[in-house]
Symmetry: C2
Subunit: 467 residues, 2 copies
């Protein structure tokens, strides 16, 4: 509905492609300062288009959009965006406005957001928050994302154990609006020291006498976890227990909040995905193309420059055998093939080991078992690939010994690649390293070196047959 463009589309087509450039309409509405129209327009966009429109407006408009909206709508908008985009937007806001929006978010999302902001902005926001709120936020952000304390929500239904059934029902009924966004399957009961003593399934209220204390219908001695419980144990807990959430307590048994299954699932899959990207050396933080150019270039380059040094190290093997290569130049055609194929076989083995480690199907000490399993696959696949490359070499070059050299080299290098690829993640894990982060680069450097050494070493030994 651009003013300059006549409305000629039929309404059906419009509903499919309502606005080709939603950021223009967004800026227009933000400039007009009409909170209601702006909110209605954002609601009409899909989540993807909201993110798109915001990513294409400039920083001044980010601020106008977020401050024109009501704080509730602004908070709602931010939670739909990816974490990096949300942090980017909030970083550009005045601390007062940012604090007002942060106050509207559930506590686990507050912690996530503040963890992604610039340190200066975080302290400015904490200053702008009311003291009690700032204290609570500070406590939450003290936990990292991969322990229970970093994933919990504080917004739970919490009653003293002496509360009467009727009073609980009245509180619920009077505050229905406030509780709408809560997870209201359970209430949590505490003693006078705020220690968790029971869990109350809300449906138990249906069958209870109204004058009894809720302690009579609670589940006593409920399962709970410490705030410092690591993510792996949380995953195990929700795998074993069919709960939607679990209460979290501090060292003194005081109730801090609840960790929901959702939050654990999300962190678990995000960790798995990041692990894999890391193992391939691809990640350098979450890049979006709207970030500043030099930041993007620097992040990518940090990994590329390590990789090129490793590559140069491997290529040094070729330099040692220059004389052989000069005499049998056909070998040069096969060096990149051997290098790439071995890297590929090795990465398959890395992927299987990482998966089996994460499923608990293999222990870090079972190196021999994994090695035997990998060698058996390596024998078959190495033979198949070696034979194929040998045939190609013979057909192209005519010299059967060239085929023999490259085929045998690829066979043995496939064995080496799967052996390293399969066992290195176990070894790294066993000695306390992140198996994801180093497997990929380590693997390709070593298999490149071995591959070049095998091809050129074999060729040197058989040089008179190859000439």
């Amino acid at each position: 509905m651009n003013e300059s463009s006549p409305v000629t589309e039929i309404s059906d087509a419009e509903s499919i492609e309502p606005n080709d450039r939603p950021w223009e309409r967004l800026e227009e509405l933000a400039d007009a300062g009409d909170a209601e129209a702006l909110s209605a327009y954002l609601d009409s966009l899909s989540v993807g288009d909201q993110a798109l429109a915001l990513s294409r407006t400039d920083e001044a408009h980010h601020q106008t959009v977020l401050t024109t909206l009501s704080v509730e709508d602004a908070a709602e908008l931010l939670r739909h965006l990816s974490e990096s985009q949300a942090a980017d937007l909030v970083d550009s806001l005045p601390a007062e406005d940012a604090a007002a929006i942060v106050q509207e978010m559930p506590s686990d999302e507050q912690a996530d957001l503040l963890g992604d902001l610039d340190a200066d902005q975080v302290s400015a926001i904490l200053q702008a928050l009311p003291n009690a709120e700032a204290e609570a936020v500070r406590e939450l952000t003290a936990y990292s994302d991969d322990v229970a304390g970093g994933l919990l929500v504080r917004e739970i239904l919490r009653f003293d154990r002496s509360t009467k059934v009727a009073d609980v029902i009245n509180t619920l009924s009077e505050n229905a609006d406030e509780f709408r966004d809560y997870d209201v399957q359970y209430a949590y009961l505490t003693d006078e020291n705020n220690r968790l003593v029971g869990v109350l399934p809300m449906r138990n209220l249906l069958f209870a006498r109204r004058n009894d204390p809720v302690a009579d219908i609670m589940i006593a001695e409920p399962l709970s976890l410490r705030d410092i419980t690591p993510l792996d144990d949380l995953i195990d807990f929700f795998d074993t227990h069919h709960f939607l959430g679990v209460p979290v307590v501090d060292a003194e048994g005081k109730l801090l909040g609840v960790v929901h299954r959702n939050a654990v699932d999300y962190e678990a899959t995000r960790a798995a995905e990041n692990d894999f990207l890391k193992s391939q050396g691809i990640i350098g933080g979450e890049e979006l193309r709207t970030m500043p150019l030099f930041l993007r270039a620097r992040r990518r380059l940090s990994w590329l420059s390590i990789n090129i040094l490793l590559n140069i190290g491997a290529a040094a093997v070729i330099a040692i055998y220059q004389d052989t290569l000069e005499k049998v130049i056909a070998l040069a055609v096969f060096l990149p093939i051997i290098s790439d194929m071995s890297g590929c076989s090795g990465n398959q083995a890395v992927a299987v080991s990482m998966r089996e480690l994460s499923l608990g199907l293999v222990r870090p000490t079972e190196m021999v078992r994994v090695w035997l399993k990998e060698v058996s696959v390596g024998l078959i696949n190495g033979a198949a690939l070696g034979l194929l490359v040998a045939i190609v070499a013979i057909v192209w070059n005519g010299n059967p010994y060239l085929g023999l050299v490259v085929g045998v080299a690829l066979f043995f290098n496939t064995l080496i690649a799967v052996s390293i690829g399969g066992t290195v993640p176990l070894l790294l894990k066993r000695f306390g390293f992140d198996p994801a982060v180093a497997s990929g680069p380590l693997l390709t450097t070593v298999t490149d070196m071995c591959g070049f050494f095998l091809v050129l070493g074999l060729a040197t030994a058989m040089l008179n047959r190859l000439l």
Copy 2:
């Protein structure tokens, strides 16, 4: 607690490493046929150790374990395992036993499991199930995993809209045991044709008059989705709406079940993870090292054999320039470096494009925008990498023109790699292909070819300077 080993460990050490080889104890208990002891032992194991123990026992014992356990416990055990391991176990069971266990599972997990079984076992299980149950399972498995129909649970609280509040409360109270595993925040109300007419938040029951029909306190005209809603739309729905679940209806508006946010999150992240593995050409189904050797070898080889053909194609460029290479053998040292580094830069661009596509931050038509963003990063990183490799070449070889050739080649090939890596996923998506599946291999083949061509073509043009 192996009978042959004296109990000498102190209890503390035992609780840390309760049994080094849990599969031996598992086989022992299964052979003894004591369901209770077996169930208790499995409960004492972590989820990882359950999976490990089962993966290390033979097929005969799989069967003994699953049939010795009660069907409830067997179903519970299976749902903790990875899908491929669970399917493997159920495939080895007699159809009667398998059917009894399947009947105990929630409907979305039934559908998942049956989708992973052998076709023969599926039809045998369907025959062994009661007719009504078999029909329902058949309906569910007709949907694929990535539409609402394949993700829904049928186990929901469902009442006719004329039911009285008091009757709903009585039903809940009488069947409390059966409903324990249900998601009981909402009940769903249908008309006489089983069409969805309303949603009843259970807490509304707390404040309702017992003789009113539930229709009086329901949310009328609730949001619902069709059974054929694709995963992408489900993700959008839960991004936009703060619900734990959404009712799903067929073409006639009949209520089929509920899709939970959990199930959508799980499928979404699994899809994202698989996409990435696919884009790197690593996946060939979910491999576990307990699978038969030839299956594992074949799956890995299917991808490796495509890749080696692509590699040979790229290497053919080297063959064309053999004469140049023979004269300036030092170039051979740099060919694998150029190939590997360009692949790496290109994969970074692929990863960013896939991420931006999945977040909706870029549209498949915005090729030029992405290309400009990539070229600007490529100019910086290509210059840095090119300079580095040029310096290495000059220091090692002494000929500044060798440095010029490899540096310029790497500079331009980095530009080519990020341009292709950034835009190919958009292009594939635009023309209806899965952007994940082909980006990686396509990219490396083309960048290898271009890289070899650039190095050797430049060297040929400057041959007299290089000699």
